[in-house]
């Protein structure tokens, strides 16, 4: 499974909802080598016409699907499926089995932060972002 000799130059997007697709589009426009994976083929409709990467349909909790999507040669992986547990699992696999240099994950439950502590996994918490933004706009209108 491990192959450190491979050139790590790919950007892997796991979960292509609104966020995943937007990031995939942006990465493409930056000229990155993008691989997008989702179990639902319809999700790829969110990719723009200019998207020039590859798409893979499959269950990301199955390692063979991630392997097909070149996880072993990923420079960065962005995990944005709708299920926190799937996101955590993929992040762990990316860190402990394939040692992907940059791992970004979306987690709905901020309590999950404790589970990725010390693993060099960068997390986004939509709850915290919304809460901060709410406080900001309310504070602004006072």
């Amino acid at each position: 499974m491990k192959n450190n000799r491979l050139l790590k130059n790919k950007t892997l997007i796991v979960g292509c909802g609104r966020l995943g697709c937007s990031i995939a589009n942006e990465c493409c426009s930056e000229g990155k080598n993008v691989m997008a994976v989702d179990f639902n083929e319809d999700c790829f409709a969110g990719l723009s016409n200019k998207f020039s990467g590859y798409t893979f349909v499959g269950d990301v909790t199955d390692l063979s699907v991630l392997e097909e999507a070149y996880i072993a040669s990923a420079k960065e992986i962005i995990i944005t499926t709708g299920d926190d547990n799937v996101n955590l699992f993929v992040a762990y696999v990316a860190r402990k089995i394939y040692d992907v240099p940059n791992i970004y994950v979306r987690l709905d439950d901020p309590n999950n932060a404790a589970l990725i502590q010390g693993l060099k996994i960068k997390a986004i918490y939509p709850f915290e972002l919304s809460f901060d933004k709410f406080n900001l706009i309310r504070g602004g209108s006072k």
Partner: protein
């Protein structure tokens, strides 16, 4: 022992029944309301209803310091995160989880779950051992298939029948652990005589199993 049982329906029911009343403290959590109700009703014990992979549910159920944590849910990732939380946040000593996808057995182990069970994998091994051996041989795997215990019935025409163990130069890669000769169980030593119809049980590694079976089943030439 403090045992936490998460998820599962019939599997949870069976485990609760096995351990209930044996001076074990059972904590049962289920994410399905119907399953939680059913388990409470048939076993007369409190069942927490909640997502057992969430920190606050595990906190409410007081799983901290449990000896064994078992995750029996249908989704592999839910079980994985539950075991991870139990271990990392609540200092649970040992985690066991079941997986639907047999490929996850090795991966979950590598990611820190103590014991991973896949019924599909077990079925495959069982088919394999049934298919590769004759009917009169039974095999049991121990220690994650690193050791096998094989049971074999001695026939009249085998070379080793009517001989003492010290005279047959049994392969060094295995060990005869007991002989079942109705109605007795004999723990053999060098001078034990092997007789037809004996059930001979030996332990070995899976790699050497075939070689030893071939040795035992060698037919006398005369």
């Amino acid at each position: 022992m403090k045992i936490v049982i998460c998820g599962g329906n019939h599997a949870a029911d069976f485990i609760i029944k096995t351990f209930k009343g044996h001076q074990h403290q059972l904590i049962v959590i289920n994410s399905s309301r119907e399953a939680a109700r059913y388990l409470t009703k048939v076993n007369q014990i409190p069942v927490f209803h909640g997502d057992y992979w969430r920190k606050y549910v595990l906190e409410d159920a007081h799983v901290e310091g449990a000896d064994i944590f078992v995750a029996l849910g249908y989704k592999d990732c839910d079980n994985f995160v539950a075991c991870l939380s139990a271990k990392k946040l609540f200092g649970v000593k040992k985690c066991i989880c079941i997986v639907n996808n047999p490929k996850n057995v090795d991966i979950f182990r590598e990611l820190g779950v103590d014991s991973v069970i896949s019924s599909t994998q077990m079925l495959a091994y069982s088919i394999l051992s049934e298919a590769s051996l004759e009917n009169l041989i039974k095999a049991v795997s121990l220690e994650d298939d690193k050791i096998v215990m094989t049971e074999i019935i001695i026939k009249e025409n085998y070379e080793i029948a009517h001989k003492k163990i010290m005279d047959i130069s049994f392969p060094k890669t295995g060990n005869i652990s007991c002989i079942y000769r109705q109605p007795n169980v004999i723990i053999p030593n060098g001078s034990t005589l092997i007789l037809p119809k004996d059930k001979l049980a030996f332990v070995s590694t899976p790699q050497n199993q075939k070689e030893i079976i071939n040795f035992i089943q060698r037919v006398r030439k005369n």
